[in-house]
Symmetry: C2
């Protein structure tokens, strides 16, 4: 059985924008991200969760720090146009990721990552998983510490 987690990466200087209470009906995500693209904002990750029995969604995306103000302005235009509750911004974000293969079938891997960060007292903001990458958004100040913690947790610093 091969080594599952092959590396850890850290992406700094990100901003996180979340659109809260977006109506959950077809066409909304398309409209939002067409508008974001029109503002020439480069999007890193998009994370959306539906809740309140499928009535609304929170849509979060990350951009470079440089695009943060533009992204919020864009979000506020959309809040008026589409009609949703709130736009929030966090300009103090980094993304730490573990990279591997077949991580889905090794159910413990995500839990192991969250556990390592928790023991290092690093708060996890957003989570985003696939078979190949599990990413956590954290405070920028925790970036280096999170990187070292995960290297140790997955035996990668030998």
């Amino acid at each position: 059985e091969g080594i599952v987690v092959r590396g850890v990466t850290l992406k700094r200087d990100l901003a996180r924008v979340v659109l809260i209470g977006v109506p959950n009906k077809p066409g909304i995500a398309a409209r939002i991200f067409a508008h974001v693209a029109k503002h020439k904002i480069v999007v890193d990750d998009i994370i959306q969760n539906v809740y309140d029995q499928g009535q609304v969604a929170n849509i979060s995306f990350t951009t470079s720090l440089g695009d943060a103000k533009e992204a919020v302005a864009c979000g506020e235009e959309l809040a008026k146009e589409i009609g949703f509750k709130q736009v929030e911004l966090d300009e103090n974000v980094a993304k730490v990721s573990i990279v591997g293969i077949g991580m889905k079938t090794h159910t413990g891997v995500a839990a192991q990552m969250f556990n390592a960060l928790s023991e290092a007292k690093v708060n996890i903001q957003n989570i985003n998983t696939s078979e190949i990458v599990i990413s956590c958004l954290i405070d920028q100040k925790d970036g280096e510490h999170a990187l070292q913690t995960l290297h140790a947790a997955f035996d990668l610093d030998k």
Copy 2:
């Protein structure tokens, strides 16, 4: 410049569980997924969004339909133990994904996927992106239609 989107996949018979209003402090995600693993539930994707100025998070995960009841029972135990508002279940879910390379730097790709689904009147529940895979959770009944729509949208059915 190579072809960015190489294929579309559909994963059927999924259930979506969302834990609503989870306190946003270190150790919670670790506790939740250790508990889920203890119940022998196999988790497909995990998506977490923080909101309300970082006070709470919604954490969503997908499992097989067969694990749905167990996953909800597990979520409800955690709601009591940890103290959060609500657990919701949708047993009618499929995941459609576009697979490619370097999709982040081609900013239009996600917007193009959302647009194609919107024109097909397919509602997007959850969204989850990385450089290699962009996944949307949709209603099970829309699975086949979404698959064909995306094949056509990305010129993959020639």
